[in-house]
Symmetry: C2
Subunit: 814 residues, 2 copies
């Protein structure tokens, strides 16, 4: 199955186009379309008293202004709750245009359609909305207090609550020789892809068909959602995803209010309509992630072995819950990492606030989970005076325990069972790579120079490639060109390259003959989407299976024509040939001609095929039963469970004794995503992930004031790291193949970001000698922590507080 | 398999739309498109010396003028020879725009693209073409003489020549007790559908995709041809066929010059382009049919039993041969009808003339073949003084001889084997229906009143539903709506109705829940086309097979959910239910939800399905191996051979003794197209066919002068019968099911037209008492024949000439 391309670090085939500026993004489409712009709430929480569009009506170029009053049927109802998980107590979702209340700054209140965007924005300014301003609820603490309730009809702000238990954790902790309790906090950040959201819709009245282009991570999800909202059959909606300038999770939400309003208006107006998000809109009206408060209670033995772990999570899901419960679900199940936790109890509250919605952002709850677990590991080591790597080591699941059942229900509702992995080997490799054992000497040398340096490590296990399925379609044209399609979308990950690599090997064709289409419901209507590091696992497996079907068919047809047993044939360089007799054979394009009993005398390929005509067999139908014309293969990959990729990061940092500036000296990664399709792309994914991990640990945060105004809603104020802040990343690959899929691969897209906050907190803590419990951390924050540590307000690492008595039973506390 | 809908004479579901004027034809599309118009040759044969577009360039609204000099690559080469049959000696095809020569009036020389059609036509007038006029070659006789050769480089005008033999016909004739020789002639006519041709093309530069709409009988053929000409992959071309206002064969040609020029220009200009044919263009630049000269030599015994039959055919294929050889191929093989011919020899020459091309027109060579055979039968009866029905009867193939191998190679290259039929029963039914035995008394009564009446009959067998395949796709949406697609196109035959009837029964759903799409390569890329009465046989069978696959899947899924054996389930009214316990079940829409493990919480259907969720089985992948998400079924029907429908027509005519006006008193049809899907539609097809048969026998002809100018190229001059000229048609159905397909059906689309000329010639001959050998026949022609008969120039029926000695061997004569 593996050949020359699988595993080869070839440059990305799409880069010739993308890097040369020939990408085709949403805003490159729709010349001649009307432009949409949105009147958005300036308040975090308010009741709409009146909307006056009078001043807008005399603007030249106006096409229409819509408010909620213009919507009917499903369009007037709230947008769907995408994951109606039983943990949800009261699932509130936004309307396409606000009905009576607005619940965050930026919420769409009215839609303007105009000749062009300039006019549309001018008209937006002229729409007057009268609001009764209501109290904002900003942050987890305020949401828990519930002095103000976000949604009418609710008595508190708890959107969802879930408890999972394996064994009796409180009892195990109570009985443990040692206990600890930690309060931890991760702040809000967001995906901030280069390209914001965007939607372009064309209604073909004659065909009664809607064509939509959306900068989305799920073509099929948008299709289903828009069809339902617009009361169309699925078959009437085509969703095509052009090049997408990054997604990182924010574009998996569907439908966005704008994503149903634009096609709705296009149909109503009988004219193309387009909307492209601007940067401020993306900050205030797309989605954020990460914000959590965590309380960890842990019991352990003298060697640091976990006996009981009890984690309580308070999660800010923002104003609405279209998608949000997935994030604390992931945190609560995947924080276990490569460890056996002993008895385990985890409970989360997901809370409404009057801020923009929270949906998965690369890592999707895992960075928070890893922060909880790895901060705990470091705290145990400090308490016991043990080496931090040693404490991790005693808790690691061993290779011979695989597959390992954590006993929990995973985010997809299936059992949480790790498929494979060799965590001890990974830890050994990491310690070797970073020079863990040599670090004390290094620290001493630095100290002698008046420098503070610290080392940290963090481990994670990541469920990647969840089901239920993706499809692959592979077709050989009569020209010999190979067309590959899969339903999930690309946001720059290199899918075109790796899927072509896989098909090239399976079929024996040059990669230059292969073109790959993703995210186009015309080519593959059944699909799920690009998230949870599922591209390579799911679509890679699907196109491999589809290519195998095609290969079988090609060899059967060529065998008939060449009067050879298919087993005696091979495909090399796009040519089917008899093994050991390479001159005897035919091009795959010729096989494609032979695969269709309907011949057209149009082209060389058909003429070339005539030499293989042979005497016709009139007792055989031209297309055999259970066969089909054409040289195509379609198959679906549908796994029993997720694959579990894993990794361990170590970082060495230096903190400036005076300015408290934090500088990363080394950043080492040992990464295991099973078999590598393309090491160059995996390393690129890790580099990018580490960059976002560093960003989330040291720079990026959403600065809301207490009125719910986002104070840094621009790239002037939102502190994104430059290349100068991102460390060189040293990578060592482990490859423990997944037994769950035909290629043995696991997902790699999110990995790099996951342990970022945890490893940098550990390294800073190691440099400073006092606990780091809240990330991101800025130089000024570190400076103030030093002051509080110096004043005794913060205890030293070894003197942390033991676990309090077990908390009250679930459901009583919020 | 058969249920309530199959066989039911329900009104056509498409008529609510079509009859109310809500049809959507080619010219209803493409608002905003540029209009194309063509500069066409005014000469039948000429060399282009110069094209001067100078005067055109300053017209406001001009977009572009193209001539052959603007074409490159495949576009500059001649259009393809669609059926490269080995009988073709020199296959000439036109260019998209004439290169150096023009070979018929109306041939496209230049293409004008302008803001609208008015401007385009004005510009056409301003393009000056200098021609060197060359001699026209009009009609078979002129083509055979070859005083002038149509195509440079050829020494004569013989495009194709084919001989087929079973036994030694010349020897059998020479040895026969009786012989006859007949010279016969059929003139040119044409399809003249209500809607002419038309093409509308949209090039999507961003997608690099071409969408074409064409008023065609073959979406897939147009797609393949245009892809080849424009050097696109098949996957880059979508062809959608809107409502089509009649085709009758003329629209099976692909690509027309206009059909490649319009998309070529759309791509070049980056703008939609449309062309709609006007009526004069259709007369001079589309296609005609029928023109043949035939010489029949026959030997027979005292009872009229055929011993040897030798038929020589000279066929006018017009200026080019893109498709034309199929017509004489059909004539030469299908003239045998329901008879055993004894030894058989047939040879045709297909000849170039400087007239518009000849391609199949409803009946497609069969009317000419039936004319040859049935005129021969009548001549034998006259010679022997036997009853004409009796002579036919002794020659009929008997039911117990089925399947019957005529020993010839059929038009599709496969053996000519009749699948089923009961010809003696059909003849008995026809004689009974028309009152054959009572006619002599009726004739005597009329004669006593001074009236001349005559009776005639004609029999035919028609190969219908040739392969190689058609596909069917059936899908149940989660709403419960059923979408059916097949690749072949509709031109008003009622496919939407009969395919829905078939699927309704197979699936157990109400017909109102079914929508049918034809001729859309987006829905069914593999297809052949609508011709040769293949719609019901091929696509009917294909959708039935597809629906059975879907049904199996639906019962399996519902069985899982209901915990019932699929064999214990039935589908009634769109609901799967347990037999004998009808309250227990679920709607098909719910089954469609269950068929996709990816659930969206969007709609009622998904929520309704949750009650059938049951405990998840984590040891089973969400999509089983070899399964696929969704409730769909696709299958292809690919027959071993054609089905053979048959029929016998009888007519009673009255000829005015003074004016020679011919009036049809009765027209009786016994028709056998196997099992009837919808008798109303079959009868409509027969009525329409008879109308065209009567038209071809008595009214319609193409009046070319010797310069190749068509003198009657408008509906003012082309004599199309009104309803007042079309007789009431009395129909009796026989149903001998075809053993070749799952529904037992045979084609019915062309049947009505086939014996028209033969049966009316026979009836007129019977009324007049002298041979009728050339059709159509007008009152003035009949008047002149009477004069020639009275003068002794035409012999009476019994005194026809015996067969001459056997002609020279094939290949020597032309």
């Amino acid at each position: 199955m593996t050949g020359k391309m699988f595993g080869a670090p070839i440059p990305r085939t799409e880069d010739e186009r993308l890097v040369a500026g020939r990408g085709r993004y949403l805003d490159d489409l729709g010349a001649g379309a009307y432009a949409a712009a949105f009147v958005r709430s300036p308040h975090a929480h308010a009741r709409i008293l009146d909307i006056d569009v009078g001043d807008a009506l005399d603007v030249d170029g106006l096409v229409a202004v819509y408010t909620h009053d213009d919507l009917r049927g499903p369009m007037a109802e709230p947008l769907p709750l995408l994951i109606p998980h039983p943990a949800i107590r009261d699932g509130r979702t936004p309307h396409a245009l606000a009905a009576e209340y607005v619940h965050h700054v930026g919420e769409p209140v009215a839609m303007v359609v105009a000749r062009d965007r300039y006019v549309a924005e001018d008209i937006v300014e002229r729409v007057r909305v009268d609001y009764e301003v209501l109290p904002a609820v900003v942050g987890v603490a305020a949401a828990r207090r519930a002095d103000h309730v976000v949604h009418p009809g609710m008595s508190d702000n708890v959107a969802a609550r879930l408890l999972q238990e394996v064994g009796d954790a409180p009892a195990a902790i109570a009985a443990a020789p040692h206990t600890l309790e930690l309060d931890l906090e991760i702040e809000r950040s967001a995906s901030t892809p280069m390209e914001g959201r965007g939607v372009y819709a064309r209604w073909d009245a004659a065909d009664a068909m809607l064509r939509m282009y959306s900068s989305t991570q799920t073509a099929s999800g948008v299709r289903a959602a828009v069809a339902a909202k617009l009361e169309l059959q699925l078959g009437q909606v085509e969703v095509v995803v052009p090049d997408v300038g990054g997604g990182f999770g924010v574009k998996i939400v569907h439908p966005w209010p704008e994503e149903v309003m634009v096609p709705w208006a296009a149909r109503l107006l009988g004219h193309d309509v387009k909307w492209t998000e601007d940067r401020r809109e993306h900050f205030v009206a797309a989605a954020h992630e990460r914000e959590q408060l965590q309380r960890v209670r842990v019991g352990f033995d003298d060697e640091g072995r976990l006996l009981g772990l009890d984690v309580r999570i308070w999660h800010d899901n923002g104003a609405y819950l279209p998608y949000g419960v997935i994030v604390p679900l992931v945190t609560s199940t995947q924080l276990l990492g490569p460890y056996r936790p002993g008895a385990y109890r985890v409970e989360f509250d997901s809370l409404y606030t009057t801020t923009v919605i929270v949906t998965p952002y690369r890592g999707a709850g895992r960075p928070q989970g890893v922060f909880a677990m790895e901060r705990t590991m470091d705290a145990i080591a400090a308490r016991l005076g043990l080496d931090r790597a040693r404490v991790r080591s005693v808790n690691l699941i061993q290779p011979d325990e695989m597959p390992y059942d954590q006993g929990l229900v995973f985010q997809d509702g299936r059992p949480l069972i790790y498929d494979s992995g060799d965590y001890p080997a990974a830890l050994a490799a990491l310690l070797d790579l970073v020079g863990w054992d040599d670090f004390p000497a290094q620290r001493e040398r630095a100290r002698a120079e008046g420098r503070r340096i610290g080392i940290g490590l963090a481990c994670y296990v990541e469920g990647t490639g969840p089901g239920p399925y993706e499809g692959g379609h592979v077709q050989v044209e009569t020209s010999g060109r190979v067309r590959v399609a899969t339903g999930l979308t690309s946001q720059g990950q290199g899918h075109q390259t790796i899927l072509a690599q896989i098909v090239a090997d399976e079929l024996g064709v040059p990669i230059s003959d292969i073109s790959v289409t993703t995210g186009d419901t015309r080519r593959m209507p059944y699909s799920v989407g690009t998230y949870a590091s599922r591209g390579a696992v799911m679509s890679g497996s699907a196109v491999a299976l589809a290519a195998r079907r095609l290969r079988d068919k090609a060899l059967r047809i060529a065998g008939d024509a060449l009067e050879a047993d298919p087993d005696d044939l091979e495909i090399v360089g796009g040519r089917v040939r008899v093994k050991g007799s390479p001159a005897s054979g035919m091009d795959l394009g010729t096989v494609a001609v032979l695969a269709n009993p309907l011949r057209y005398a149009f082209d060389e390929a058909s003429r070339a095929a005539t030499q293989f005509g042979g005497p016709a067999d009139f007792d055989r139908p031209p297309v055999a039963p259970d066969d089909a014309p054409g040289l195509e293969g379609t198959d679906f990959y549908s796994p029993l469970r997720c694959t579990f990729a894993s990794g361990m990061h170590a970082a060495i940092v230096e903190t400036d004794p005076e300015t408290a500036e934090i500088r990363i000296l080394r950043y080492c990664v040992v990464h295991d995503c099973g078999r590598l399709v393309n090491p160059l792309i995996v390393e690129g994914q890790i580099h990018g992930g580490v960059a976002q991990g560093v960003a989330g640990a040291l720079y990026e945060r959403m600065a809301y004031d207490s009125d719910g105004q986002l104070l840094n809603a621009s790239f002037m104020d939102f502190l994104m790291p430059y290349a100068s802040e991102v460390p060189a990343v040293e990578i060592d690959h482990l490859e423990t193949p997944s037994p769950l899929n035909p290629l043995g691969i696991k997902g790699a897209g999110e990995a790099g970001v996951i342990p970022g906050a945890a490893v940098l907190a550990a390294a800073v803590e190691d440099a400073e000698g006092f606990p780091i419990t809240r990330m991101p951390i800025s130089p000024s924050e570190l400076f103030h922590l030093r002051r509080r540590f110096a004043s005794g307000e913060i205890p030293p690492l070894r003197a942390r507080r033991p676990a309090a008595p077990a908390p009250r039973p679930s459901g009583q506390e919020s």
